[in-house]
Symmetry: C2
Subunit: 409 residues, 2 copies
Amino acid sequence: MKRNVIVGQSGGPTAVINSSLAGVYKTARDRGFHKVFGMLHGIQGFLDEKYIDLSKYIKNDLDIELLKRTPSAYLGSCRYKLPEIHEDKDIYEKIFEILNRLEIDSFIYIGGNDSMDTIKKLSDYAILTGQSQKFVGVPKTIDNDLALTDHTPGFGSAAKYIGTSTKEVIRDGLGLSYKKDIVTIIEIMGRNAGWLTGAAALSKGEDCDGPDLIYLPELPFDVSKFLDKIRSLIKKKHSIVVAVSEGIKLADGRYVCELSQNSDYIDAFGHKQLSGTADYLANLIAAEIGCKTRGVEFSTLQRSASHVASRVDINEAFMVGGAAVKAADEGDTGKMVVIDRVSDDPYQCATGIYDVHKIANDEKLVPRDWISKDGTYVTNEFLAYVKPLVQGDYPPVMVDGIPRHLVYK
Amino acid sequence: MKRNVIVGQSGGPTAVINSSLAGVYKTARDRGFHKVFGMLHGIQGFLDEKYIDLSKYIKNDLDIELLKRTPSAYLGSCRYKLPEIHEDKDIYEKIFEILNRLEIDSFIYIGGNDSMDTIKKLSDYAILTGQSQKFVGVPKTIDNDLALTDHTPGFGSAAKYIGTSTKEVIRDGLGLSYKKDIVTIIEIMGRNAGWLTGAAALSKGEDCDGPDLIYLPELPFDVSKFLDKIRSLIKKKHSIVVAVSEGIKLADGRYVCELSQNSDYIDAFGHKQLSGTADYLANLIAAEIGCKTRGVEFSTLQRSASHVASRVDINEAFMVGGAAVKAADEGDTGKMVVIDRVSDDPYQCATGIYDVHKIANDEKLVPRDWISKDGTYVTNEFLAYVKPLVQGDYPPVMVDGIPRHLVYK
């Protein structure tokens, strides 16, 4: 007899992580699971016995639709890394005690690289100790840096936001640039992978030239060559827009933003907290070249903008959530659902499943040959890869002029 | 016999200034004007003989619809202040020489306070020198600080963007705030008037608590009282979101952002360029209280986000453009079209017309009694005023997943 499912969300929010949650919930109900529990704030909250019976909160199909349109993590997220099994068995015993008490068959965790590490450790522990629960991961990250999956849910919507907003910023600059030069530096998320920054090129089309320069973190950034590029561009046009990754680094490995500040805040996963690359470069150009400059940081807006989400992305996020429940129900464990691209044009994709031992902590970067030779743009191959992922709209349900969300309260 | 119309755009871009341009164009054609010229980059470009025949670029009704959905100034904008008539008659003689050569009857200028100053001077000069052209202004500014009009086109869409994005940022913070405190400071445009900053309260509703604190530039900002508020809030909740105007000032008149930097860039109208208020306050809280903080600047995004424009706003912008042509055609000069609110609920408005001599350079601020007693929020009266202006959507025409704009090339 089938028992219960539990699902959690982890890592940085996206516009569609809740669509995956909706997919988990719906498929679990459809497949006849008894209850669907939600961990509050992922495995960290779960360790504090914080979980809810989702059926008490997702009451009908309209709620499912609202959930698909709600950004950030409905259940709350966490950034919590489980210790190695040999380091602290007590934590694992506690987790499995709760799982057994709640009669959980399937444990679904929606997250990025660090979350797949959680799936790996829990499935390993279950096998080591002869327990029957199945552990399956659902990919999620705006950064698109997970290996083995063609792309990750969350990326498409962030890319659509970035393409749209970059185009609006470019138009803004053009409107104002009569007889004066304006250089706008847009800072985009992506510590090591330039997928999101490259998406700024989506603004390019019949009605827009796109950004003039795009700098991904995959290649070293040369400040003086950059200034030369700007000096040369400014002779030809008045408004220049540059998209840079927050994570661009000098050849010696230092982050560009470190040139202006001492950044020593390190998060729980050992990542350095970054900010200020756009402002630094804007100030540098103002000082060195003397024109008006602006730094625009898309910041947290780019990962939460469900009001301009991609329909493809929302639907795929929903699909991988459902596929994870199906996989666990059919006996898979220690796996992550992936998206396989069957065809570029017409775009078609299908879910697959991979062993998380092959996935965790392996960052997928933009291939060198998808970046232009001089390192200042992305190629048409890059755009052919990204474009299918931003197609279609999934408009918010507007109440009194503002998007309505489904919230846990 | 009717001759020609010329129209220009001036000042900071908005999401709907082109909808006013579309309204001018359509009404001018409908009323039988021969040609509709567009100044490129406002009066500044006009002085350089830069203008186009708009009918060559706006070819059909689809183009009009695209124009209504295109942010920033289609014709290009300028920030150019005409000298007083007695200071430099040559400039005025040049302008009227071109106007007469182009057989202009009606001169329509879309802009804010500074642009109405242009309408005033040109209409004065025409009267002084016995010339027949009519000069009418069309209000435009996201800041909503124009006197005599109930509100200005551009404000509603910016307010809708701010309400929507604030809600998404609040959700983002809630998702991440387990067992740790996160204070997010959102910086919103508005040098002296807090209309836009107050619009952050639109995020408040059944599914969202809204920002915890809202600071408008109308009242002096007390840094130590602010820190006390944060300290007190952080005892009750983990994620705190504060909306501040870029223009908040200390009791002694210094801008808060000046506390961290020396800002000495002054624009052509004598306005001090501001930036960094959110970052300053976020760093201050991190240092004084020790929690994680984030500064989010809506920056230029808030004035160009036509992808989330308000339908009421786009339609009103179109309407005031048309009303200006009608007024000039019927003999009005030295006037600005205004929007009169006929009723709040159901919301109804109509155009009116006022003498620009009464309007120019008179900033409309948020009334004291629309700000809470302790100065940290807006009242329900404020929200009742703003809400009708953000109603309805005017979705972009999406091409390949990204909004299509109409551009002059």
